[in-house]
């Protein structure tokens, strides 16, 4: 069984390497290039809301850096690194939405479903392998890019600080926690579980709809509109909106996190203890059953 799952996961990686290996890596490379360029004085990024430039390191700033408590210094550095990684996470997030919508639709469209189903792999195993890929494997594929980005950012900043005599080389590295890698990976796994009903809904549409985008959107829009008309409430949209965002920022999360920070493992445990999380899990279980049933019974290979 482990060999079968390993094979199924390898197949997913091979099929979707552009979305989950090449695209995040390309984004990470661009970000690395931009960061290095800023620190080496080649360019800077200044907008009304955002300023990423070495000009900020004036005398006052340097003094504040040296006077900052270890905790404050660590908080700023960790938040900055998380912030830098957001474009990669957004790229993968869009990749996951596209993957979810296409994974069962594409196999119908090119009729490869006939080949997959000629192999002794049950529909349930196939669906679980895709879940395992979304929840567990994709976050692991993202991590090397995050680590690369953080390393380049830390190294570039350190070289800049040393060469400009701002702070010692060790300044940043003493506040860089390798354990944050684990926090990030656990947070991404938690995120995949939190957003799972959305991914599964899109997968479900791919198993039956001739136009998967319409198949996914129309029932949701209709439900949202009907709910507003009949009950004057907004629960369905609220559910979707929350699941598309970061789990630690959801309305149902017990702590209001105002600033960008690395989540603690205790935050994840807190999330697992919420009712909203388990409602999502129940919805996910129902959708898994629907996907297995529809994939095993639908012989319509027409997908536009």
């Amino acid at each position: 069984m482990i060999t079968v799952f390993f094979t199924m996961i390898r197949r997913e990686i091979q099929e979707h390497k552009v979305a989950f290996i090449y695209a995040p890596f390309a984004v990470a490379l661009v970000l690395c290039f931009v960061i290095a360029s800023v620190y080496f004085g080649i360019t800077d990024i200044q907008t009304n809301e955002f300023n990423f430039s070495t000009e900020i390191y004036d005398e006052d700033y340097q003094e504040a850096m040296l006077l900052a408590s270890p905790e404050a210094k660590a908080r700023v550095i960790r938040a900055g690194l998380i912030f830098l990684g957001l474009p990669i996470l957004l790229t993968v997030g869009f990749g996951l939405l596209a993957y979810s919508l296409s994974t069962f639709a594409d196999e119908r469209k090119d009729k490869s479903l006939i080949f997959w189903r000629s192999m002794p792999v049950s529909d349930l195993t196939t669906v679980f392998s895709k879940l395992l890929f979304v929840i567990f494997i994709v976050p692991l594929l993202v991590m090397p890019n995050i680590i690369l980005l953080q390393s380049v950012a830390m190294l570039s900043a350190s070289i800049y600080f040393v060469s400009n005599d701002i702070v010692p080389f060790s300044y940043l590295w003493t506040s860089y926690f390798l354990t944050d890698w684990f926090r990030i990976i656990f947070s991404l796994w938690a995120q995949a579980l939190w957003s799972l009903p959305i991914f599964l809904w899109l997968m479900f549409a791919g198993t039956y709809a001739r136009r998967p985008v319409i198949g996914a959107a129309v029932p949701l829009v209709a439900t949202i509109v009907l709910e507003r008309i009949i009950f004057k409430t907004n629960e369905v949209w609220g559910f979707i909106d929350n699941r598309l965002g970061f789990w630690s920022r959801a309305d149902s999360f017990p702590i209001a996190l105002e600033e960008i920070r690395v989540v603690d493992i205790s935050d994840i445990i807190l999330m697992l203890s919420t009712q909203a999380f388990w409602i999502g899990m129940i919805a996910s279980a129902i959708l898994v059953a629907g996907i297995v049933y529809t994939r095993s019974t639908n012989n319509d290979y027409t997908v536009e």
Binding site: R11, I114, R117, S118
Partner: protein
């Protein structure tokens, strides 16, 4: 050749809205048979083969290798291989990737054997399937199937869209390199003339029903085709043929259960080709239902 029961179908029905795609199919298939399903479009051939593979639900009783194909599809597919269309191998994969996939999920797949078969072709392991010609894809698919130690092989229009050379190659490779006398093969195809030489049994189907089923050996004994001499045509008609047709300006008669010696006296006698026999049986059935 052993004769274990591989498929037992009793009263198998499949209905799509008001139409019966299968209308009470009763079949027993023994191991070692190479069984051809012959019939026009909509006869129910593919529907029956799909039900054997557990891809669709049917009414009635259907057992394949002692298993219910719908409930035990996963278990059944360890013993059953199929090619239902040549164009279903995932186009994004490389040859190596598809071989490694099958190796990883199919306990009966022999990768070394498959690579040995492929080495006799022009297929490169690094090639993407979408870059292979249709014929090469068939060779690849057949190589995979031939490397799986299965008891039953289901071929539903396996050579559709292939040119004559590849079609001939497909069947000759299948029989020479795959068939060992114990394996059972079910074949459905429109190109009946290309498979009749390899069949041990044939089933004629029309409108979801079995019109006739028998072994080729028995069919060849039971049915005879006569090309009478010009002056023997009236005598040939008096022997009550079940069907007659014109061939190059010459009348040809088909007989059922008629002594060969009687026919030999008045013309050239030979077993009918399956396609002609099918047409004759269909016409006979149609006339029977009209009277």
């Amino acid at each position: 050749m052993c004769s274990d029961l591989v498929i037992k179908a009793t009263g198998v029905k499949k209905r799509y809205e008001d139409n019966y795609a299968l209308d009470g199919i009763d079949i027993e298939v023994n191991s070692g048979q190479i069984l051809g399903f012959i019939g026009p479009n909509g006869a129910g051939k593919s529907t029956f083969l799909q039900s054997v593979l557990g891809l669709i639900n049917t009414e009635g009783n259907l057992e394949v290798l002692g298993l219910d194909p719908r409930k035990d599809r996963h278990k059944l597919l360890k013993e059953v291989c199929s090619i239902t269309d040549v164009a279903v191998l995932p186009k994004w994969m490389t040859v190596d990737q598809v071989l490694n996939y099958v190796d990883g999920v199919h306990p009966g797949f022999d990768l070394k054997k498959c690579l040995a078969i492929l080495s006799r072709t022009n297929i490169k392991r690094s090639s993407k399937i979408k870059t292979l010609s249709r014929g090469m894809v068939v060779q690849l698919h057949l190589s995979i199937v031939m490397s799986i130690d299965a008891k039953l092989l289901v071929l539903d229009e396996p050579t559709l869209g292939l040119d004559l050379v590849y079609r001939k190659e497909f069947y000759s490779q299948l029989i020479e390199d795959y068939y060992d006398g114990d394996k059972t093969i079910l074949i459905s195809t429109h190109q009946v003339e290309e498979i009749e030489g390899v069949l041990s049994n044939a089933i004629f189907m029309n409108q979801g029903r079995i019109v006739m089923q028998d072994s080729i050996e028995s069919i060849n004994k039971k049915f005879l085709e006569l090309r009478p001499t010009q002056d023997s045509i009236e005598r040939a008609k008096s022997l009550r043929p079940i069907h007659s047709r014109m061939e190059l300006g010459r009348e040809v008669f088909l007989y059922e259960d008629t002594e060969q010696d009687k026919l030999s006296e008045i013309g050239e006698v030979r077993p009918p080709i399956i396609a002609d026999l099918f047409m004759a049986i269909m016409e006979k059935t149609r006339k029977g239902s009209e009277t």
